[in-house]
């Protein structure tokens, strides 16, 4: 990948156009003046006894405003830019130029949100001023790390904005995207202060700190607020890693996935979001982080069964998200039948091949889950609390694992079936279908206290497991979902078989001697 930013034509053109007439420069100066005026008002009217020291409050205010502003500008700028280019078909010209998809997207990511970066730079004198006045716990490295966090958050939102469909007529237009981001900004300004107020309870447990801090830099902010920026850590197999460092790493990791997804779309809109290999790697990373976080939770009362339960639930949810990213929809699968099948050995193709059906992915996800559970959760738990304790929980662990595997296979296979039948809109159909077969059973079962209804609902089982009151008749749910899995998998197989026959006939008529050649 070329990282020669200043010769990237998209960055060069974006800066040329945006700097013309000093537009961006003017906005930056006005922004700086508004921030200074805000600081003066804070100094004049905020009671230091009730509100705390001015340098801390002003530092948090400047950084807070900057996080929201930069992130929203970045997201809005990249989304609007890509969408406008798709609608106007100017993106076609970029796609067939000698630029690689990575260069195009890097250009969009760094050039379009130029204002976001400039505004962030403009705040540096103000934050440095606060730091020189002295803010409890904030050293120069903390300040630098806050800017790294700012960069990663901006980058993450920018990559989220890049995620656009390339087909004409799909997705929203640039105007509605701008309006959506504007609304998000207003909502953020309304709801962030209460969220900040709830930060203390949100960051009380290691797993909840991880759940929040891996995505947004709330622990870092709240740390500065209480005068201990290094107070919040990610507990990772007993190792304490400061959230000030973890948050940007996690955000850059997520940003990479979004960026990579869009690179693949630019290469070919029929590509699935992620390659299967990257899907396995990502799931493994999620498993390792999950296991690491929940291991430390034990002294706070998370028993082995609960740890297994939490791990399996995270694994299941992460698998479902990743299945969505690696499962080919109708057009992709058809192109596999026409052009891709037969290029490599069947097993290799099903496991790692581009656009092939997702069955072996589901199996791999199950194997990964069980292996990670054994190696990363149960073995450390055995060393920590004794293997006898682990064996004592074997019954509950087996139930949870069985539920995870069955649900993963069934929902993953249904996913493939719906996407094969309905194309991309199949995702919405699947979500509706899943909500219909899961939630009403849970709600009516709870309301009418009908155990057999609850026994059919996966969410009811997980809720009762977490509550320490396992539901009887897990086998009802297992039977239903195993049936759904078999039915959907066989249907997919039958349909693919039929498609292969039709395509082979067409190829024969076309006079193609060997389709795989």
């Amino acid at each position: 990948m070329h990282l020669d930013f200043w010769n990237n034509p998209i960055i060069v053109s974006a800066f040329r156009v945006k700097y013309r007439g000093g537009g961006v420069f003017n906005i930056t100066v006005i922004y700086l003046l508004v921030l200074i005026a805000g600081g003066a008002l804070l100094a004049r009217y905020a009671d230091p006894v009730a509100w705390g020291p001015w340098p801390r409050n002003y530092l948090l205010a400047v950084l807070g405003v900057q996080f929201i502003t930069s992130a929203l500008i970045a997201g809005n700028a990249t989304t609007t830019s890509i969408r406008t280019e798709v609608v106007n078909r100017t993106l076609d010209f970029q796609r067939i130029a000698a630029l690689s998809p990575r260069q195009i997207l890097l250009g969009k990511l760094l050039g379009e949100p130029a204002l976001a970066y400039l505004l962030a730079i403009a705040t540096i004198p103000l934050t440095v001023y606060c730091w020189t006045l002295g803010v409890a716990g904030v050293s120069l490295d903390v300040l630098i790390l806050m800017y790294v966090n700012l960069a990663s958050t901006t980058f993450l939102l920018g990559t989220v904005g890049l995620l656009q469909r390339l087909e004409l007529g799909s997705g929203r237009n640039a105007g509605s995207i701008g309006a959506a981001y504007g609304s998000a900004l207003i909502l953020a300004l309304f709801f962030l202060p209460p969220a900040f107020g709830a930060a203390r309870s949100l960051l009380a447990l290691p797993w909840s700190t991880a759940a929040v801090g891996l995505f947004i830099p709330l622990p870092a902010f709240y740390g500065i607020f209480i005068g201990k920026p290094w107070a919040y850590n990610l507990s990772f197999f007993g190792l304490q890693i400061p959230m000030l460092i973890v948050t940007p790493v996690a955000q850059f990791g997520l940003a990479f996935l979004f960026f990579h997804t869009m690179v693949r779309r630019l290469i070919n809109p029929l590509n699935t979001s992620l390659q299967k290999g990257l899907g396995y790697g990502t799931l493994l990373a999620v498993d390792i982080v999950t296991a690491g976080v929940f291991l430390e939770a034990t002294p706070l009362g998370l028993a082995i069964t609960l740890r297994v339960l939490a791990f399996c639930l995270v694994h299941l949810l992460a698998s479902l998200v990743l299945i969505n990213s690696v499962t080919p929809w109708r057009e992709s699968l058809e192109s596999w039948v026409w052009r891709f099948r037969g290029r490599t050995a069947w097993l290799w193709d099903a496991w790692l091949g581009e656009r092939s059906e997702n069955f072996l992915v589901l199996v791999t996800f199950c194997v990964l889950g069980i292996t990670s559970l054994g190696l990363l959760v149960l073995v450390p738990a055995g060393f920590q609390e004794g293997f006898r304790e682990v064996r004592r929980s074997a019954g509950s662990i087996t139930s949870v694992v069985l539920a995870m595997v069955t649900l993963l296979l069934a929902l993953g296979s249904l996913h493939q079936w719906f996407l094969f039948l309905a194309g991309r809109p199949g995702k919405v159909v699947l979500l509706t279908f899943a909500a219909i077969i899961i939630l009403p059973l849970h709600l009516f079962g709870e309301y009418y206290e009908q155990e057999w209804l609850l026994a059919l609902s996966p969410s009811a089982h997980f809720a009762h497991w977490f509550g320490g009151r396992p539901l009887p008749h897990l086998e009802y749910m297992l039977a239903v979902y195993a049936g759904l899995f078999l039915w959907s998998w066989l249907s997919v197989r039958r349909r693919i078989g039929r498609l292969i026959r039709v395509v082979d006939e067409k190829l024969q008529k076309m006079g193609v001697p060997d389709p795989a050649a």
């Binding site: 156009v17 010209f93 067939i96 000698a98 067409k506 193609v512």
Partner: protein, 308 residues
């Protein structure tokens, strides 16, 4: 230069391209003719690597377009019938942007930009904002962008649509210049008379199939084994009709507005004998001419008399 085999494109249940086979040698100007929905744009978009075919093999300059699109990109200049420009850029900035996108070295960029601006007669608007350009100028600017990296192959999808007659004339001259420079050009257009003027080969498409392809003269010969003869006489038309109807090589005689039209099957060499005989018979011949089919006639014949 362009080689297409077994090309097929399906959109749901619609077949846009059906088992297409096409070869365009280097330096040809190949015109794609066909009604809307014939598959011309689909073919050009596949060649431009913007669309994946359902099946098929496509090679440009020996490079597999489907497997190695990034290597093909520098060779291609693509212009579509519908296009937009970056409204807030200046004319030279727009060309500079694409020159950079194609990796044109810094030292050559300025010279190339001046050259293409001159080629499309936009030098005087070099520093104008694109939003201030007229439609014709925009079209010329887009064409200049297509040429700025000196591509070997030009894929032009209805490039002259929307241009006024003068603009079309200029455009035609431009294409002739590019042809003279040895570029391979694939162009689709509805304006068949214009295509005849600069295309060395044509392909007639309908419903995703290539009905006929080859050099214009070859196709003419294929479709028109008999020559069309048109004779205008001042006196002696009944005698002329009599002579023609008894001649072994003459078929389908008809008299239209004082002229006699017929099919002549004996080849060009035998025509002087016929002319001599008519004069000897005392028929006052005003004109004695061969008429060849034009591109519109060919298209109408091949496509079964459907209108474009």
């Amino acid at each position: 230069m362009i080689e297409v085999r077994h090309l097929r494109k399906e959109y749901d249940k619609t077949v846009a391209l059906e088992n297409l086979r096409l070869e365009i040698p280097e330096g040809e100007v190949y015109g794609l003719i066909g009604p809307n929905g014939a598959g011309k744009t689909t073919l050009i978009r596949i060649l431009a690597t913007l669309l994946e075919p359902t099946y098929g093999h496509v090679r440009i300059a020996g490079i597999d377009v489907l497997r190695d699109p990034l290597r093909v990109h520098p060779l291609l200049g693509y212009m579509s019938d519908f296009f937009s420009l970056y409204e807030n850029m200046l004319v030279w900035e727009y060309l500079d942007h694409f020159a950079r996108c194609y990796g044109v070295p810094r030292g050559q960029r300025e010279r190339l930009i001046e050259e293409v601006l001159q080629l499309v007669s936009l030098q005087v608007r070099r520093d104008a904002e694109i939003r201030s350009l007229s439609r014709g100028m925009r079209q010329r600017l887009c064409f200049a962008k297509t040429l700025v990296h000196q591509p070997k192959v030009l894929l032009l999808d209805e490039p002259a649509s929307g241009l006024d007659p003068a603009g079309r004339l200029e455009f035609r001259e431009l294409l002739k210049q590019l042809h003279a420079m040895g570029r391979t050009i694939l162009i689709s257009s509805h304006i068949l008379t214009e295509m005849a003027d600069f295309c060395t080969s044509i392909g007639i498409m309908e419903e995703g199939r290539l009905l006929a392809t080859g050099r214009v003269t070859d196709i003419l010969q294929q479709l028109q084994p008999a020559l069309r003869l048109e004779i205008e006489v001042a006196v002696g038309q009944p005698r002329l009709m009599e002579i023609l109807s008894t001649h072994d090589s003459v078929k389908r005689i008809e008299a239209v507005n004082g002229r006699v039209l017929c099919r002549w099957g004996a080849g060009r060499d035998a025509l002087p004998d016929l002319h001599r005989r008519l004069v000897q018979e005392g028929i006052g011949v005003i004109s004695f001419a061969l008429r060849t089919d034009n591109l519109e006639d060919i298209y109408m014949k091949v496509s079964g008399h459907r209108t474009s």
